[in-house]
């Protein structure tokens, strides 16, 4: 095997194993920053040895064992250091005695538990949302600082800083490497789900930049979601989120036209939706439902997405059910954005006037002041009601608010279409 062959294999193995290696090491040293260093050491050892010795039969176990030995060495060194400093008494010796056999057992129990701990710690509320995203992509996704920077369109040093600070914050706050207790679990789990969904959304509807989608982030969020669904199979919201992401991702390739322009959901060619992902999404939704509890916010959003996925054409969509699901979502997790979506569903189920009634109440909503989708939806409803001049103004306003260039182009086209159709009422562009 040539050295570059070995490096390619090591890259692939690292992609599959890195999160587990870090999680194992973190379990031993209790600090994710140190754990990542140890995992990197194991990677360096592989890069040194594998080109010579060949790739071991079980490369994951090799990496984990190497990182684990280094972790235990490090712990022993620290203990020795403490011992010298503090003239180790009986008590400390007893502690050490108790600690080491535990560590030897670590490698035999389920690594899944450690992965789950790593997810909870990376998404810990002591960290800022940006830090949670970066740390999750780094430690669990195995993405490099450069890849994360490129995905979020921020300079590489900014991401590096975020990750360094996040690790320091976790160490200073002495955040334990553990799955939260029952009392905190629901809140902490929803923090993990929110982080995954934020990553997904940054890929699905980038808040900035030139691309309409960045599939890498969607794929990464989905992969982590699927992993989480195996680690926490009894939490219906985990399956709800996975269902939501699978179904949304099924439309990725239909959302972009031949020259990169966005195509909105109802105008997409449904034959181009990814039916493997739709099937997976509907199955995940069934798993959530089978757990018997009422849907949480992600489950409800997934049920809404499933209404689209099940309909063979835009006309066949069950808008009445969709409106009912939005009613439920508005009750469970009320927000102006949900209200806006509810308005769209109402307009499709009961006509544009029904939707406009709700949208008009949102116009003075301060949190939506610079949200481009409000004037965009309002413009759409006004256009459908034939109020084209008002519609045009709304589309132009929406275009001035969006930060995405392709979306701006689409909105300006719709504004221009209003102008064209107001003098030519038989036009077909809505």
């Amino acid at each position: 095997m040539t050295s570059s062959d070995a490096h390619r294999v090591i890259d692939a193995v690292w992609r599959i194993e890195s999160a587990k290696v870090i999680a194992r090491a973190a379990r031993i040293v209790g600090d994710v920053g140190v754990a990542e260093e140890l995992a990197q050491d194991a990677l360096v050892a592989a890069l040194e040895q594998w080109p010579e010795s060949g790739v071991p039969d079980n490369p994951g176990a090799w990496l984990t064992a190497t990182a684990k030995h280094r972790a235990i060495d490090r712990l022993r060194r620290n203990k020795l250091f403490e011992r010298k400093q503090e003239q180790l008494g009986q008590e400390l010796r007893a502690q050490e005695h108790a600690a080491v056999p535990d560590l030897d057992a670590v490698i035999d129990d389920d690594v899944g538990d450690d992965l789950l701990r790593l997810m909870f710690v990376s998404c810990h509320p002591v960290l800022s949302p940006e830090a949670r995203l970066a740390l999750t992509l780094r430690l669990l996704g195995g993405l490099t600082t450069e890849e994360i920077a490129r995905a979020f369109l921020v300079p590489e040093p900014t991401v590096a800083q975020r990750i360094v600070r996040a690790k320091r914050t976790l160490a200073e706050a002495r955040v334990p490497f553990e799955v939260p207790s029952a009392a905190d679990r629901a809140d902490r789990l929803s923090s993990v789900l929110d982080v995954l969904y934020l990553i997904f959304n940054e890929g699905y509807s980038p808040t900035a930049g030139e691309d309409w989608v960045r599939p890498v982030l969607c794929e990464e969020a989905l992969r982590l979601g699927r992993i989480l669904a195996e680690l926490a199979p009894k939490d219906p919201e985990v399956h709800g989120l996975v269902a939501l992401m699978e179904i949304h991702a099924s439309r990725l390739r239909a959302r972009v036209g031949p020259s990169g322009e966005p195509i909105l959901l109802l105008e997409q060619n449904r034959a181009r939706w990814d039916h493997v992902l739709i099937r997976r999404g509907l199955a995940a939704l069934e798993r959530a439902e089978a757990l018997g509890k009422a849907h949480g916010p992600y489950g409800l959003q997934a049920a809404i997405a499933a209404c689209h996925a099940r309909a063979t054409s835009a006309q066949a969509t069950d808008w009445a059910r969709m409106a009912a699901l939005y009613d439920a979502l508005a009750e469970l997790a009320p927000s102006p954005v949900v209200e806006l979506n509810r308005a769209v569903a109402l307009s499709m189920a009961f006509g544009p006037a029904a939707g406009l009634e709700v949208v008009d109440q949102l116009v003075s909503e301060p949190t939506l002041k610079s949200y481009h989708l409000l004037p965009s939806v309002r413009g759409d409803l006004l256009a459908k009601l034939g109020r084209r001049e008002e519609a045009r103004a709304e589309f132009e306003r929406a275009a001035s608010l969006t930060r995405n260039r392709r979306e701006r182009t689409l909105l300006l086209e719709r504004a221009a279409a209003c102008r064209a159709t107001s003098s030519e009422p038989t036009g077909t562009r809505g």
């Binding site: 890259d11 692939a12 992609r15 599959i16 992969r223 992993i227 105008e267 060619n269 835009a314 256009a383």
Partner: protein
């Protein structure tokens, strides 16, 4: 990117003999490992070609031939569809598979990349799509005018 890991058939799988319980269990563990890693999208095992058929296209004609087919090695006995980051990662997963017909029988897994929409030049898609989109727009417009 997506890859399909395809297990090549052999005379045993073609004869319709079911895999042993051990092998089924090992394959189950393997699939579970890929599921836990979040990479497995779909997987199926295929029955012997004696239960299938071929449709041949030649000179504008379609001819149906029932199985079984010779050359077992050219047939597929099953597949996994996985989502990974590189060809090397796909190969690494294939390498981790149990020997598909047990340790004492020769087996082969072929690793093939799946086409993504972005692999096609843009001019391949527009006409049909544009027509369909226009159709949808027209329908939506009709709805909007006549809810």
């Amino acid at each position: 990117m997506r890859f399909m890991l395809m297990v090549r058939a052999n005379s045993e799988s073609e004869s319709g003999v079911l895999p042993s319980a051990e092998l089924i269990a090992e394959m189950g563990t393997y699939a579970e490992e890929m599921m836990k890693a979040g990479v497995l999208l779909a997987a199926e095992g295929l029955q012997a070609s004696s239960k299938g058929a071929r449709v041949k296209f030649s000179g504008g004609k379609r001819t149906v031939t029932d199985g079984p087919f010779a050359e077992a090695k050219e047939l597929i006995a099953g597949y996994w569809l996985i989502q990974v980051k590189s060809k090397e990662e796909a190969i690494e997963w294939a390498r981790r598979s149990p020997a598909p017909f047990g340790p004492d029988t020769e087996g082969e897994i072929e690793v093939r990349q799946v086409f993504e929409v972005t692999d096609f030049p843009p001019e391949i898609f527009p006409p049909e799509d544009a027509a369909r989109e226009q159709e949808l727009r027209d329908e939506l417009q009709a709805r909007a005018g006549n809810p």
